[in-house]
Symmetry: C2
Subunit: 517 residues, 2 copies
């Protein structure tokens, strides 16, 4: 077998079963070798950012890496923004970058560029395979590197001749180290804080937002001065009726500071110490209040649920978890606003749904409106690189064919990776996309104000507006093979969402809303 087949058989043997691909000439032997190994399925994406975002969605749901097959430096560059988001999410992803043949690189052919430098900006592990006989062992290491807790980006650069030359057989999977247990001494230190009665916040992130971790964490609030908060942009937050509800730390520092005010101990459980998303003139960068001590209970790569359970057992023995009651908003009538849309979604969110949330300013009302809906997973934009939602939904739907996926998408962000809809259609994925069409980069109007820049700027008004001409997302969706409707009232949205959810396959609803509504 050739090097490509040895790589693919090693992937299949290591449990990698999906390859999101946008291949080019240097990947042709890889693509052809996929015929020999039915355990690895190729999914075509029409842009590398879609492939990378899909791998992120897939990895968040399965805990296993998908492969992403990209073409040389520019192909990787196109995928980097969503690999950045995946890195921030702690998602396992295996990027395979086809390169020129080893002996061709010195010729500086038109597509030659520094792949290693690009890969290094997002990857915990980068290797350029030197010979076909090394390829299988290299990819086994790459998979293990991607699986290292909490999940990393591993990038294997695969020259074309390594793919086409003869190689030995596949390599055996390497053992994956499970998340490390938190030392008992740390648990005891934090237990002392919990028992101290001093105002404390446990900030949950990463696997600290899975159901077992949330159940354990909620016990900590029983008869103590402990409150729970979730990190601002969780990779995967298990929510809904029957699970403890945890409020998220606000994106806006102006709102986050009151959430943390008076806190004496900030206990980190899989979350980073909170900082302002951007800097603003004269405002603090760290959100930790003065006089508050930060204590790490568990790092993102550690056994967070285990640590929370041990902490609860020790600090508040006998305390019981506080699950959320089932409660939904009523379907509203009248104008369609962000608030009304959130109520419609809260009223109709199906059991076991996966929500991919890139609603940005339009999503302000969503957390509250969906807190008591049936159990669901909430996936956020972890790294701030927009254009993530539609690809993320593709990967989530491929990971969980039996679960409904809801993509909640801001109009400006949707345009970055709109061709993801074509993959929704080709794969007949059960994804309902709601585009919040407020015809603006609304967040930036807010940021213009917050940064203290002049808000009467005509240039800013033009550069932050998506009007002239209005984007017609129903036409765009139809052009990409996804049936689409437009909602102008809350009742429209409810009827259209109900219909889309009832029917398998992809749908898109353009929800026309005023900014900041």
């Amino acid at each position: 077998m050739n090097g490509a087949e040895s790589v693919i058989r090693t992937l299949a043997g290591s449990g990698v079963s999906v390859c999101f691909a946008n291949p080019g000439t240097s990947e042709m032997h890889f693509v052809a070798a996929m015929d020999e190994v039915s355990e690895l399925r190729g999914v075509l994406c029409l842009f590398e950012g879609v492939a990378a975002g899909a791998a992120d969605g897939y990895g968040r749901l399965t805990g296993r890496p998908a492969a992403v097959l990209l073409h040389l430096g520019p192909g990787l560059a196109n995928g980097l923004a969503n690999l950045h988001n995946a890195r921030r999410a702690g998602t396992p992803v295996l990027a395979i970058i086809g390169d020129h043949a080893t002996y061709h690189k010195r010729l500086d052919a038109p597509l030659e560029s520094d792949i290693g430098a690009l890969a290094g900006t997002v990857s915990s592990w980068v290797r350029q395979t030197a010979r076909a006989s090394d390829a299988a062992a290299d990819v086994a290491q790459a998979v293990a590197a991607a699986m290292a807790a909490p999940g990393r980006i591993a990038t294997l650069i695969l020259p074309a001749d390594v793919s086409w030359e003869e190689a030995g057989g596949p390599a055996a999977p390497l053992p994956v180290r499970p998340p490390a247990a938190v030392p008992e001494q740390v648990i005891e230190q934090v237990a002392a804080i919990v028992r101290s009665g001093e105002p404390s916040v446990v900030l949950l992130g990463g696997t600290g937002l899975t159901e077992p971790a949330l159940l354990a964490a909620s016990r900590l609030t029983s008869g103590t001065a402990v409150r729970l908060l979730a990190e601002t942009f969780p990779a995967r937050h298990e929510r809904g009726a029957g699970r403890p509800t945890v409020e998220r730390l606000a994106y806006l520092a102006e709102a986050a500071l009151p959430q943390l005010a008076g806190t004496r101990h900030l206990i980190l459980a899989g979350a980073a110490s909170p900082v302002s998303f951007f800097a603003y003139p004269g405002k603090p960068g760290s959100l930790v209040p003065p006089g508050c001590e930060v204590q790490v209970l568990a790092e993102p790569g550690e056994d967070i649920a285990g640590a929370l359970a041990a902490l609860a057992d020790l600090a508040v023995p006998g305390a019981r978890p506080c699950p959320q009651e089932a409660i939904r908003p009523a379907i509203p009538d009248g104008d369609l606003t962000g608030q009304a849309a959130a109520a419609v979604i809260g009223a109709l969110l199906p059991e076991n749904a996966i929500v991919c949330d890139e609603a940005n300013t339009a999503g302000l009302w969503l957390p509250q409106a969906t807190a008591g809906a049936p159990r669901h997973d909430w996936l956020s934009l972890t790294g701030g690189a927009i254009g993530q939602g539609l690809p993320l939904a593709a990967g989530a739907a491929i990971a969980c064919r039996d679960r409904p996926v809801l993509a909640l998408e801001a109009d400006g962000s949707a345009m970055y990776t709109i061709s993801a809809l074509w993959t929704h259609a080709r794969e007949q994925l059960d994804i309902t996309t709601i585009i919040f069409a407020n015809r603006a980069y609304a967040i930036l109007s807010l940021e213009l104000q917050r940064t203290g820049a002049r808000t009467d700027s005509q240039v800013a008004q033009s550069l932050l507006s998506l009007a002239r001409p209005d984007l017609d997302f129903t036409a765009l969706a139809r052009g990409l093979g996804v049936p689409a409707t437009r909602a102008l009232t809350a009742a429209d949205l409810a009827a259209q969402l109900e219909r889309a959810l009832a029917e398998p396959g992809p749908h898109l609803i353009e929800a026309v809303i005023p900014p900041f509504s």
Copy 2:
């Protein structure tokens, strides 16, 4: 004035008059300061790859850099593929990357990444401005660096606090060094080759494909054994009736090798020594025939037209240039194929047009069909990173408001940066886009064969196909505000193209053709 205004005033003073922008929070002070300086106009692009490609088109036509305003590392990453193409084109481009405030970077906020590493892969000049008082001087240097012949990518990383803090005034423009003259000794060496009577090829590239250079080069063929060839993917090739026609070196090595066979001297005038675009098993990487000596007449950054004129004066005194006669193909009847489409375009190409060619396999017949059309500029995909054509057309049209622009675009490539159409619409640019819809990454079916991979691969057939579902480019264009039609016959295309060219503003025609037709 603040740092941002000092930067913008310096840009305006240095002759930079357009800023293609996709800004975020860290660029808000920059955007607001643009109100103060009407000489720099902001053009909104809905994706950074569009902004970067537009700057490439603008720079190729004007010889001056446009600014590209991008948001942090992920924004730059999204622009890198088209910056790669611009680098290969030798286009002057000034990338301005808004960064977090200097003191915020240590907090590792979600959007933090290694901007310098990304910029380094495409830029000849990279600087992170440290203080507001340095910003004006830094940007003056950046402009000069971008203008260094033949044109480079200069990247200025501008932290948010540098933009908002008080600065001095703007900096004066720095002198730009003109292209160096080729030493007389080199001219004499090459003149000896020309006079030797040995079979020689002058391979023209860069500014060697402007009208003055072509007129001079064509004199070299008079009564000598010298032939002319153009590099495979010229940044800007001045063509059409009245100018000497020069055949391009073929993309396929199988076709390029016969073009060069028997050549004893390969004389490079602004072109690189030719290499195969990709490596193929058992095939040579360099296209220089055995026994052929390579001689550099002029490097890309030198005065190529001057060198060619001096060479002709010395080697073939009194020889006259050989301009192309005016001749157009007839408008064909019957089925729409790539060949028929080329004839329609050759028949209707307007005087003084700018053609942005990313037609890929569908473009095989275009050079011949348009050789005798009225004078026009032909811009190609220089770096092989697809998704260039529609952005390039936007930049070209903004550079030359009075010239008609024709974007010839393969369907697969169009999908990478399809939102460029929205900028065509917003700016009401006189661009007619023809999408060659063959429903496949056709080039890759060919490459699959050429790399020797198994061509019966089912996986390859699926991953190289754009069908299931078919993309509807007329719907996509309408969704983005561009009026669109679909051509199914040669007569359809002729009628629709005639109408689109007659009417100002953007239009799109989806030309449905079979692959390799």
